[in-house]
Amino acid sequence: MTFFFQNLINALQWGSFYALIALGYSMVYGVLMLFNFAHGDIFMVGAYIGFGVATGLVALSSMGALALPHWLILVLTILISMFLTSFVGMIVERVGYRPLRDAPRASAAITGLMIGIILETGNLALLGAQRISFPALVQSTTYNLGGVFVTNKKIMIVLVSIALMYALHLFVRKTRWGMAMRAMAFDYVVVPLLGVPINNIARMTFAIGSALAAVAGIFFGVAYPVLDPYMGIIFGWKAFVAAILGGRGSILGACLAGFLLGFIEIFVAMIFPSTLRDFIAYSIILLILTFRPHGFFGEPYSARLRL
């Protein structure tokens, strides 16, 4: 039984990353009807920005200029990185997607791939291929709950991720900006005629998605403190799978599918030989999609997408 609960906790942490990143894919698709394939690399950029901010703050506080406790450094790192990474997202939108908004969808998808490669190789040129070790902002404490081992990091990652997802849900449901996003997802042609500034909404969508990716990046650095410039590729693919599985454009769907993906990966490795993990995990997902081609919360009509 402890074995099961241990894996449950492992899966919750792992799923949080997928969910946070899948949200970015899903929101952009909901609003602009395009998949931002650079999103996995924005996650990577977020992690590196987080690394830069955290290192800077740690250096400042050790020099005595700012006497900050470690938890405050972490909070500040998250907030500043969210802010900075959202600009990366907005630049990607402005440079990569807006000029191509009326171009064929395939061109826009290719743009995403190219921007991804530019971000990866740009990082490589800037910082070199050296692995970077993320500063230990959270002193890891392990709690033994009757044979199940939980760290304070895991609890924080899962809780903060869920809180952020709920905040996003409230934003989209309860605010005027959220309403504008939903309206744009509903009808892309008529909404501008009603005076909704679609460029601003598109920019905002990218900013929010990137800010969430930055949080995922920092948490990734906290949990797996080795960063490399290509870390976003496979992660991006898998989160993209989660976004599709959840139903394109659905926030709730992306969250649930993200966690589900984490659960499937961890529990498949628990039951079967770990060599077959991804083989079996993604066969299961393929099966689910065969029976629910629009994902869990997606709607059959592409013009009417829920956000």
Partner: protein, 390 residues
Amino acid sequence: MKKSWILIVSFLVVGLVFSPSAWCKSKTIKIGINAPMTGDIPKVGEGTKFAAQMWLEDINKAGGLKVGDKTYKVELVLEDNESKAESAVKAATKMIVEDEVLAIVGPQASKQAVPAGAVCNSYKTPMISPWSTNPDTTKDRPFVFRGCFLDPFQGPVLANFITQEFHFSKAAVLYDVASDYPKGLAEFFQEAWEKLHGAGSVVAYESFTTKDTDFSSQLTKIIRSGAEVLFTPQYYNEVALIVQQAHELGWNKPIVGSDSWGSAETVKLCGEDCYGLFFSTHYAAAGATGDTKAFIDRYNKTYGYVPDDVGALTWDSIRIVQTAIQNCGEITGKIEKDRQCVRDALAKIKEFDGITGKMTFTEEGDPLKCAVIVRISDKGEFEFYKSVCP
């Protein structure tokens, strides 16, 4: 449409005219370096490059490489293999065909050395891999050599060491199934361990694939299996993640590694979690004497850190190549003939006294040499623990 064709063709022609290899036959000796400058293990590439540069400095100081009664200039051709198998093949082919190198040093990791070795062998170009311990690299390839011991040797060394040191009988293995080196070594370790403790004594044999960062489900299984020691023959970037996650999941028993741990990066990424752990390797920097110490001091002075095993092995390998070229007696300038001559000279070397120990070569082109067990000290240094000879 027609215009763009003309444009493309003219570019190609211009490229052909100006490419140096098309016109001038070189009068210098070119040696290729096939190293992972970017990708998963850039530190390994850096160590390779630095060691090769130090060697070139020595050659240049002496005015060139003396072969027979003539002195030749030496040029190093460095190609990045991005730590990928297909790029290593591309790099080897380019150096052989385009740069016309006499011999190639590298690739380092078995994942690249095994496929690149096939290319070098089919083009009849001598290649020596300083660091690749997988038997397939040199097997049935008369043109491929290596500067280190093999996995079938390292597996039993570690199994014996753990048994004698800790008196354990149940072991777990965690390795990357998509990479030649960890996969090979995991199998050899399992074989050796089960020979010592009976079938089924490797109680957990878990794997993952390259680029994975979360090992929690594998480690949870390993912990439940009741294993007393974890063996993980991974590269430094994964070692840090595996060791830290194991500790976070409540594992407090020993973790043992192989020569791929012996990078200056391991401790930097892993931190205090790795202190007190053991691994087997080619040489230990702490407590070195003689030529080994001279090499370490010089490297440390030039590049600012103590060289890891890759640097030392590259140094030895490139000097083995130098010896072979000199034993050849004469460089004719006809590249095929010279390559054959260097290969024959390499195969004739029976004993070599390197900074990573004395080695004798077998028929396959593999050296027999001693392995070193290193303990990561409480200051994060690689400490010599004991030496194990074949």
